[in-house]
């Protein structure tokens, strides 16, 4: 890495990372410069590798669920939920619609925070210090709301097979929604920043991903939708709670950094309307307490024994804020998972960096990589 094979003049190599504000996680980029432009770029990973797929094979299901929350930072609930949903399909302990509703509300809340933090960091990288600290304060308050909901701050150990640990009152959820509504005032401020000439010059027509490139590299999430590819697992998954409510998938065609910011802002609006509709749905079931039939389904981890069920190979996917998040499970005649493969969207997104970062200004590299919203722990695992 320190000696890229194609580069003869070593004075032209500039190392980016592994730590720094403009990096999205811990990885190193080696830029080979030609003047102010980047000739080509090489990536180096492995700083965050802790063998998570091996740990899954060694530990039991409850330990695995705790582990899944540690992958994604703010997306702790989303990861644990997708992992658990796959296991629920294998063991056929499906949750009720009320539980699905509650899970979807919290996932959408995480989506709002994740998108806001991403946009704020892009704005700060372009040299404008307007909304960054407000968004950090918002994220901190979001974790305080977690404390009201689950009793824990960042890692809510809240899910069990076929449901949740405790009931949540609809009033608490209403407070959650009124808190998330504050995002609209932040977005209003972001919109004024995005009309700024400096911001537009730094982001419009920078880091363009064409539609063919998106299809070839199997991108998903906001990065794909910014290039005009209509792909959202929430719409595709049949039988999920999202089929009962109405929402739109925002699309854009330009595929540059500015477009990705616009898509994320529009998704925040959509998420707020989704949460509003879901809370109305949730209230319609609020009279229903844990019925005896349902209570028998809600079992703790100690009760689940994979040996009782058939040997299965199952793929479970969910729309995380970064794109498609999938788990592939292989079971055998033991109580541990024989193999579990984590499939994050960032593993695809990372491979496009070398493609789109050729012949761009060296100063734009940080903005481009940040706008892709990578999660390096999905690559290293």
């Amino acid at each position: 890495m320190r000696n890229p094979s194609n580069c003869k003049d070593k004075s032209k190599i500039v190392d980016y990372g592994p730590l720094g504000f403009s990096m999205q996680g811990e990885f190193r980029m080696g830029l080979v410069l030609n003047g102010e432009k980047v000739d080509y770029i090489e990536l180096e990973f492995g700083y965050k590798h802790f063998g998570i797929e091996k740990i899954i094979e060694k530990s039991n299901l409850y330990e695995n669920l705790l582990l899944m929350q540690r992958i994604g930072g703010t997306l702790s609930f989303c990861y644990a939920l997708t992992f658990l949903r796959g296991l629920e399909r294998i063991t056929r302990t499906l949750p009720t619609e009320k539980d699905e509703c509650l899970r979807a509300i919290i996932c959408e809340g995480e989506r709002i925070v994740s998108h806001l933090v991403n946009i704020a960091k892009i704005i700060k990288l372009t040299g404008l210090e307007f909304v960054f600290f407000e968004v950090l304060r918002f994220r901190n308050n979001f974790f305080k709301m977690y404390q009201n909901l689950f009793g824990k701050r960042v890692f809510p150990n809240f899910l069990i097979f076929g449901g949740e640990r405790y009931d949540v009152l609809s009033e608490t959820l209403h407070n959650f929604f009124t808190f998330l509504k504050q995002a609209e005032s932040i977005i209003a401020e972001i919109n004024t920043v995005m009309a700024n000439i400096i911001f537009k010059k730094r982001t419009v027509d920078v880091g363009i991903i064409s539609k063919d490139l998106v299809i070839n590299y199997s991108l998903s999430g906001p990065n794909a939708r910014a290039s005009g590819v209509d792909y959202d697992i929430r719409k595709i998954n049949k039988g999920s709670i999202y089929n009962k409510i109405q929402f739109q998938i925002p699309l854009c065609t330009a595929g540059d950094v500015y477009c990705r910011c616009c898509i994320r802002i529009e998704e925040i609006h959509q998420s707020l309307s989704i949460i509003q509709q879901l809370i109305v749905l949730f209230k319609s079931w609020s009279g229903i307490k844990n019925q005896p039939a349902e209570a028998s389904l809600r079992v703790d981890y100690d009760m689940i024994d994979l040996r009782k069920y058939e040997i299965a190979q199952h793929y479970e996917a969910e729309e995380s804020p970064r794109g498609e998040l999938g788990f592939y499970f292989v079971t055998n005649a033991t109580n541990r998972l024989y193999r579990c493969k984590i499939n994050g969207a960032s593993l695809n997104t990372v491979q496009i960096v070398e493609e789109i970062c050729q012949n761009v200004m060296a100063a734009d590299i940080g903005v481009i990589v940040k706008s892709l919203d990578l999660l390096v722990s999905e690559v290293d695992r």
Binding site: K54, N216, R381
Partner: protein, 159 residues
Amino acid sequence: MITPQQNAFDLCEKIQRVIGLECDDFSGEIPILDIFSSQLVRVLTVLNSNRILFFKRLVDIVVVDRPDYEKRFEINYIIASTLFDTKLNVRINIDAEERINNIYYIYPPAYYRECEMAELFGIEFFNNKKIKQIVTQGRAADFPLRKEPQALGERNEEP
């Protein structure tokens, strides 16, 4: 209403018409197409470029190691059709010594996954030039994800 299984049957009929191979396993939600490792590139090229099927999206490549079996590595290439929202699992079984073809020039996102396969499972490819170490960076002495006692760290050491 179309059930997922009915959808899978329709898909398999189409595949049989195009490449002349039959899916036989419908136990899970994703139909499985069992092929030989020598057929891999031909099948994936047709599935990728065919206008009726349009399997443009590579979802994942999953390797499962079963040391008791004669062909110990089971490799699942999960691909998805962008037109019809259907998934397909193309599965091959290989020995430990057998070499397989690279597919990153058919599906570009397969590149990092193939590097990981070589690094963590010790699977060998015909074109090894581009394969590099991504995750362990030379720190692992063995192939960590193999199901061997050395990899698990449970070696019986005599005093």
